[in-house]
Symmetry: C2
Subunit: 254 residues, 2 copies
């Protein structure tokens, strides 16, 4: 088992940068996760973990399947250096950002498209919600929070290892799903019908948008339908992750 | 117009404590809000504002009705002392926590009961969601985050001034609503039906619970029905605020 005791070690510097900078995550196509729950979820996904990182005194729970997993032991100083939490559990994993092939794209029938949602917690909660609702993939457009930031990953509670997450141009994606005959449902206030007027469907692409400005008009122009969630009280709007949950559970046909 | 320039002023110390300690908020039955949006919402609610606080150079927008509102001007140092945000808008209000009379209780037909939800952001988002769904009141049981903490107030986006928020014993409240003939819907995994098997209703009390352990068993024992939201993917659960949104919009009859 490899052991690292210096915060100046180049691998530790890489881990630290994975936590603090999007640039490092984008360049290496990796991310760092922390805590028993997330690491357990990552272990279930073959090939997700580059290295499992254990602080002195932390033991791998019975029943975890760690065959073939590269383990690195670290001291308290290194653990402190890469931890994002106040009361660290002392277990981490350096993970690969999953890649997706063209073949997979063709099999996606229900997708969530996220247009410029900026809060990492919202993006993470939306990934978790899409996973729970049985959505096939999440497409993140430009201007959205990095799906692999520590806060997003924490909010998603392990769903990063369950559901494909793709970054790309939403205009291109809308074109692609429309070509496949999948209905595109936008969310907005103008020319919109009440969300409950649209029936559950076996195939759809739902587009949700920025916390303040909503979905970009050029995307809504391409949508087959625009829906809105009615405000029955005095609130002006819903949190975007809550709205996403209401819509996904309304449209997923079972 | 009153003006304060010292961070040692007793009123400034009170404001600061309203931001930082639940004890001060509970004792004084007040809270502090920050930013144009929240202050504008507070102004719409008669009697909500004790004092409107303006930093040097910040002007009250045209169209705001501030007749009879007590205004305090402060310098940058005082504004920094009481601000919770990185880029403060320099406008604040010292507000009263609204009180509710027995008469009001009798008129509530749709209520959301929150059992020990600990994250302030979740509680705030749930208050906002209940407001949007046209719920009559939110009842917060023991162990829940303080609804008047800065983070909760920010997440609720002004809904504190739209919907009654009551702190109390949920066991007592469940008894009260049952006596009024209102159906109590608990959320849980055991003895639960799928949420979509319960029809929209004109009167109901929905109980949602702690992020980890859910609703307390003794409360579920009192519920008329227990519902669960099905997990169609691999996620183990939904965020509690997202789940609350799905359920409220499923049950509110229009």
């Amino acid at each position: 088992m490899k052991r690292i005791e210096s915060t100046q070690n180049s691998l530790v510097k890489h881990w630290k940068k994975l936590v603090t900078t999007r640039k490092e995550r984008d360049k290496s196509e990796e991310f760092l996760i922390e805590g028993f729950h997330l690491v357990e979820e990552a272990l279930k996904k073959e090939g997700a973990i580059v290295a499992l990182i254990l602080r002195d005194g932390v033991e791998i729970p019975h029943g975890w399947s760690i065959e073939g997993v590269h383990i690195v032991e670290v001291n308290q100083a290194v653990a402190n250096e890469i931890s994002e939490t106040e009361h660290s559990q002392g277990i981490f994993a350096q993970c690969r950002q999953p890649k997706h092939s063209e073949d997979e794209f063709a099999s996606w029938k229900k997708v969530l498209m996220i247009d410029a949602v900026q809060d990492p917690g919202n993006v993470g909660t939306m990934i978790r919600t899409a996973d729970a609702a049985g959505i096939d993939a999440v497409i993140l457009g430009k201007g959205s929070a990095d799906p692999y930031s520590p806060k997003t990953v924490r909010s998603a509670q392990g769903s990063h290892f369950n559901i494909p997450i793709v970054k790309g141009s939403l205009m291109e994606w809308v074109g692609r799903v429309k070509e496949a005959g999948i209905e595109v449902i936008g969310t907005g206030l103008q020319n919109a019908v009440n969300h409950s007027d649209v029936d559950p469907q076996t195939e759809f692409a739902l587009i949700v948008g920025n916390e303040g400005s909503g979905v970009a008009p050029e995307l809504l122009d391409q949508a087959d339908k625009i829906v809105k969630i009615p405000m029955y009280g005095k609130a002006e709007s819903l949190n975007v992750a809550v709205a996403t949950g209401i819509l996904l559970y309304a449209y997923v046909k079972r």
